[in-house]
């Protein structure tokens, strides 16, 4: 049972009913923190509620911090990219509203992860790395709008795969898993929007979802971002064979994970040396 597993992982030294009650009531309070209906002010909540999760096992904590710092690194990259894009003026006026929204989400993710890592898990959030979004002079995203959009798509689709690849590594903590899933779907919404925008503007023919492992008109350097997306088999079921639905559509219906190493390999192209 999940309940038992949770106790094992998060309250190993808690046996009294009172402690368990305290744990669950606070965990529920934390969960509500991710509940949009509460509309809690961001600054006010984390310290008060997140701080209160007691008795997290050390080994699990270290592992969670590692995963969340990896996520934080990616969120730093995304946030900085959109902020620089908005500051540069490269984004066409009618579409600024889209990228302001995406920027806001990425910044919120940075702050949220910093809060969880620092104040809940008592770890040290990674500092923002230095970025080079030209990838050594190969791209000009802040002067060329199609390039800005292309890299945006690449980052969002990578983000979706990166979070998906870590789900199993945070599943011992219901709270962290649920938060990660709730970020993951937001990244997928971003990806869908940017992909369709590029096609509307005549820069590509991609849809909101990923067809086979296709990079469309993105630069060849993005091949690794889509590698494996053509997969048709899940839990041993080849869905195309089982349903007669064409492989392209079946591949679109499932997004695939990426390992941490693969994602960091992609991200490293954009780290300042």
């Amino acid at each position: 049972m999940n309940l038992i597993k949770l106790l094992d992982s998060m309250c190993p030294d808690t046996n009294s009913a009172e402690d368990k009650d305290r744990f669950y009531s606070r965990r529920d309070a934390f969960r509500q923190f991710g509940d949009f209906s509460k509309k809690v002010a961001m600054a006010a909540v984390p310290l008060g509620v997140l701080n209160a999760i007691p008795h997290v096992a050390k080994a699990d904590t270290a592992s969670l911090i590692g995963v969340l710092n990896y996520a934080l690194t990616l969120e730093h990259l995304e946030y900085r990219y959109y902020q620089m894009g908005l500051d540069s003026g490269v984004i066409e006026a009618p579409e600024r509203v889209i990228f302001q929204k995406i920027r806001d989400h990425e910044l919120a993710h940075v702050k949220f992860l910093q809060e969880v890592i620092g104040n809940v898990l008592k770890g040290t959030p990674v500092a923002e790395p230095g970025f080079d979004f030209t990838a050594g002079g190969n791209f000009s995203p802040f002067t060329d709008y199609p390039t800005f959009l292309a890299l945006s798509q690449a980052f969002e689709d990578t983000g979706v795969r990166a979070y998906k690849g870590q789900a199993a590594n945070v599943k011992e903590s219901d709270v962290v898993l649920t938060a990660a899933l709730s970020i993951h779907s937001v990244e997928a919404r971003h990806a869908s929007m940017v992909r369709r925008l590029r096609t509307k503007k005549g820069q590509d023919t991609v849809k909101g979802w990923i067809t086979n492992g296709s990079i469309g008109t993105l630069p060849a350097a993005t091949t690794a971002i889509y590698a494996g997306e053509e997969n048709l088999t899940h839990a041993g079921v080849n869905v195309s064979t089982a349903t007669g639905i064409d492989a392209a559509a079946v591949s679109e219906g499932w997004d695939e994970p990426l390992s941490k190493d693969a994602v960091l390999g992609i991200a490293s192209l954009f780290l300042a040396s």
């Binding site: 779907s185 919404r189 559509a249």
Partner: protein, 232 residues
């Protein structure tokens, strides 16, 4: 939760499971749980006319997903027979055609993965949707896609199997891609694709629990869904 009907079926039997677990009594769990017991993860699911029981453990969660995918697949099947689709733009025809295939593929996948544990086909009720109206169809599509994302996001924590969690993750991001596209068709070029109505100040998308999701879905489903044995 605007106009989501609450049907007084077996839908809310699960509301206070944590409380009853804590107190150690089963009396508030409702008749469904007493009939089913909660002994293991692989309960066979008895089917009665007009009623399904999702079962318990990971099987129950998969049946929960299967129920939602049935609803979505049935919806898009109807969309493609209706007046809106016949007169839709090329872009919207492509999107609706894709969504119909994706949801049908999801539905058939869950059916195959569940095997003999799969619930029966649900009887749907789309009488509240006007399939000749773009507004009505897109509004319903938005409801279904947003609901699907919130349901998967809320259910992930209850899956025991890491493999199944990954599969749910593979599907939920596609549902989110759908939701964003439908929202953009409704309000093009705006920030609604990831609107503040579903994403909070921390950049986290909403999650919904079993009761919330099945209550919302009950508007469109005639079959009574007993989810009282799902994990909590």
């Amino acid at each position: 939760m605007k106009k989501e009907l609450i049907k007084p079926q077996g839908l809310v039997t699960n509301a206070n499971r944590r409380q009853f677990l804590r107190v150690g009594t089963m009396t508030v769990a409702g008749a469904g749980l007493l009939l089913m017991g909660c002994n293991d993860d692989d309960d066979m699911v008895p089917t009665m006319p007009g009623k399904v029981n999702l079962g318990s453990g990971d099987t129950g969660i998969l049946n929960y997903a299967y129920a939602l995918e049935q609803l979505e697949a049935a919806f898009y099947e109807e969309v493609m027979k209706g007046g809106y689709f016949a007169n839709a733009s090329a872009e919207e025809k492509t999107i609706m055609g894709d969504l119909e295939k994706h949801e049908r593929a999801h539905r058939e996948f869950f059916k195959a993965a569940l095997g003999t544990n799969a619930i029966a086909g649900l009887e749907v009720d789309f009488s509240s949707i006007d399939f000749s109206s773009r507004n009505s169809v897109l509004g319903a599509a938005k409801t279904f896609e947003d609901l699907g994302v919130a349901a998967y996001n809320g259910a992930g924590q209850y899956l025991e199997s890491a493999d199944l969690l990954l599969i749910a993750g593979k599907i939920v991001s596609v549902e989110a891609r759908h939701a964003a596209a439908i929202r953009d068709l409704i309000n093009p070029g705006s920030a609604d694709f990831a609107g503040d109505d579903i994403i909070d100040a921390n950049g986290l998308e909403r999650t919904l629990n079993f009761t919330q999701v099945l209550t919302a879905a009950s508007t469109y489903v005639k079959t009574e869904i007993d989810f009282s044995s799902l994990p909590s």
